[in-house]
């Protein structure tokens, strides 16, 4: 599509724990081009958020080991110093968090919080205020002037998420990382937020890395999808290809687990079991214990990356096989 903006090369994140290591993210590769929306899908605990936080170096700190490369434009973010990182955060890569309810400083008015951020960029106070109102209008905040004077606790969840988005857009980042931006919100607000994100993408040509477990959201907005399971990117490709032709058994099961049709279709399908805790890296497919197609090979060898088309790959031995 456009030029490469972010490229992850063999990124692995391990947490040091009492009895060794916990592999949260394992050898993940992907690229995001300018103006593109890349969605990462997966169930809770599969490493999506860890991956997102690691890009901005926002992991709790202390006991995680990050290996691999994170190329943003033409530098490796794993190597830059703290000062440069602080400059990248907010200015070049913005991030929206999952829980808007306590993502804002409770003691300042929301307008002032955004203004404060704008002042980091040498803007006059008057211009900053005007820009805040403009941004609030951009994110469809009702009563923009009024709301800028509100404290976070006076706003609803949807409004607070709008404030967050306005805040992250205020400095025109080239990449926006949205970590489950709508999980805590109801469906109508979700649709509005989605609309805002779409508009942002169009207007500012911003790339968005969307982390979600909501396939509906993905279908609406994403250009590319990466499906994560237990810290590994098991399938990745163009949004249409994945939806039409899912290859990995996990992706297929996820699609089946989507509610569709009427309630007469019977119970919603689920995937048995849960994401395993990976404490040692051994050659095996991490999905083997829950996979309907798993055989001996899956438990002893790492599945290779199989390219289905130029833009679509999948890590599995059983491509094209149907469930027995």
């Amino acid at each position: 599509m456009g030029e490469k903006l972010l490229e992850l090369k063999d990124l692995s994140i391990d947490y040091k724990i009492k009895d060794g290591y916990l592999s949260a993210v394992n050898k993940v590769n992907f690229t995001i081009d300018r103006g593109e929306v890349f969605a990462i899908v997966g169930e809770s605990g599969c490493g999506k958020s860890t991956l997102a936080h690691s890009i901005l170096r926002l992991l709790p700190g202390g006991n995680e080991i990050v290996t691999g490369e994170i190329h943003f434009k033409d530098e490796d973010l794993t190597l830059v110093d703290q000062e440069r990182m602080e400059h990248v955060r907010g200015k070049e890569i913005g991030m929206i968090f999952q829980n808007p309810l306590d993502s804002l400083n409770p003691v300042f008015r929301v307008g002032d919080q955004i203004e404060e951020a704008l002042l980091l960029d040498d803007m006059s106070e008057e211009d900053a205020y005007k820009r805040v109102i403009e941004l609030f209008k951009d994110v469809k905040m009702p009563d923009a002037e009024e709301r800028a004077k509100s404290f976070p606790h006076e706003l609803s969840g949807g409004m607070r998420q709008r404030v967050m988005i306005a805040m992250m857009l205020s400095r025109n980042p080239e990449l926006l990382i949205a970590d489950e931006p709508t999980t805590a919100l109801d469906v109508t607000i979700e649709a509005q937020i989605l609309e805002i994100l779409k508009q942002m993408k169009k207007e500012f040509n911003a790339a968005i890395m969307l982390i979600t477990h909501n396939f509906g959201l993905v279908a609406e907005i994403a250009d590319k999808i990466g499906v994560m399971y237990a810290g590994e990117m098991v399938e990745q490709g163009d949004v249409f290809e994945i939806f039409e032709n899912p290859q990995h058994p996990y992706t297929k099961l996820l699609m089946k687990a989507l509610p569709s049709g009427t309630k007469n279709d019977g119970r919603l399908q689920t995937i048995d079991g849960s994401v395993p805790r990976i404490t040692e890296k051994k050659p095996e497919c991490r999905f083997a214990n829950r996979c309907p197609l798993a055989d001996e090979k899956c438990r002893t060898e790492n599945p290779p990356m199989e390219w289905i088309s130029d833009t679509h790959y999948c890590k599995c031995f059983h491509l094209g096989e149907e469930e027995k």
């Binding site: 901005l56 926002l58 202390g62 602080e86 400059h87 990248v88 955060r89 907010g90 200015k91 913005g94 991030m95 968090f97 829980n99 309810l101 306590d102 993502s103 804002l104 400083n105 409770p106 003691v107 300042f108 404060e116 951020a117 980091l120 009563d143 002037e145 009024e146 004077k149 967050m164 805040m167 992250m168 400095r171």
Partner: protein, 296 residues
């Protein structure tokens, strides 16, 4: 457009006024707060207008007979140099407030900065300063302050610094625990994702959230600071003669306690009055600001 804005502004103003009214009413109805407030206000007024209120210069000797009891000319009597005791007690209020102000400033500056750093950075910073705060708590404060004064020298300002160097731990610990609980909150992460430096996070994001609990702590700790400084003055390490410090006056008065008890009683009463004022003020503020008390 402007009309619309006006309309939108109105209800907000009412709410703000109402909130202010509520707090104001709570203050009025809290007898502890009101009594404390007026006591401290009176001390401040006395200190400010000390030049007008003092009937005689506080350090001029022989304005009356020596060691004379309270009379119309000398309401609080006179001391062994024939100085007017009332003037000296009034002059002492300035020193007491200076102690409260400077002491609180130094204690807060140290306590907040160190507390924030302990809570925010954790690890060795936390361990080192936790050790120091534990140390200041297991040795009696006065003795520690005595040790500091002997190192940095006598004098009121030095005494205040010595007391503050011991008392900062009282602020650092609560600030530390508050910081630790705040630093994992989502809005801190937002700040970091927004490109704020560690220092900005500490002072712009965490500190404002610590302030409400500090206000109460300050008014509760101030009497302690005044008392410790007075103690050191009493022991002869703080204010030096001819200063009108209440602690110094107490220790001078001790020599004549049986002949001229008024020399100890009036400075002592002034001291009790001031510390009581701060205590009541703190007590009242705690009740007003504590949300748990509000619901009752």
């Amino acid at each position: 457009m402007s009309k619309k804005k006006e309309k939108a502004n109105k209800p907000k103003k009412v709410i703000l006024n109402q909130r202010f009214d509520d707090t104001f009413r709570q203050c009025i109805h809290n007898s502890n707060f009101m009594i404390g407030f007026f006591i401290i206000l009176s001390v401040i007024l006395i200190a400010v207008f000390s030049g007008v209120l003092e009937p005689y210069p506080y350090d001029e000797q022989m304005v009356g007979p020596r060691l004379e009891g309270p009379s119309w000319e000398h309401w609080f009597g006179t001391d062994n140099y024939g100085r007017d005791e009332l003037s000296r007690v009034i002059e002492g209020s300035k020193l007491a407030l200076w102690v409260a102000f400077l002491g609180a400033s130094v204690e807060l500056a140290l306590g907040i900065t160190i507390g924030l750093a302990m809570g925010y950075f954790g690890k060795w910073v936390d361990r080192t300063f936790s050790f120091l705060t534990d140390l200041t708590w297991c040795i009696p404060g006065t003795i520690l302050a005595l040790a500091v004064v002997t190192i940095i020298g006598k004098g009121l300002t030095n005494t205040i610094i010595a007391v503050s160097l011991v008392a900062w731990a009282g602020y650092a610990r609560p600030v530390r625990s508050k910081t630790m609980s705040l630093k994992n909150m989502a809005f801190i992460e937002t700040g970091r994702a927004f490109g704020e430096s560690s220092r900005a996070i500490m002072f712009k994001y965490i500190f404002p959230n610590v302030v409400p609990s500090l206000i109460v702590m300050v008014s509760m700790n101030l009497p302690g600071t005044i008392m410790s400084t007075t103690t050191l003055s009493y022991l002869g390490l703080g204010s030096q003669p001819p200063s009108a410090d209440w602690g110094l006056a107490l220790s001078d008065g001790m020599k004549f306690i049986s002949r001229a008890p008024w020399l100890s009683i009036y400075p002592g009463l002034a001291l009790v009055y001031t510390t009581l004022g701060f205590n009541l003020l703190g007590e009242g503020l705690r009740d007003i600001l504590d949300p748990h008390m509000k619901s009752q």
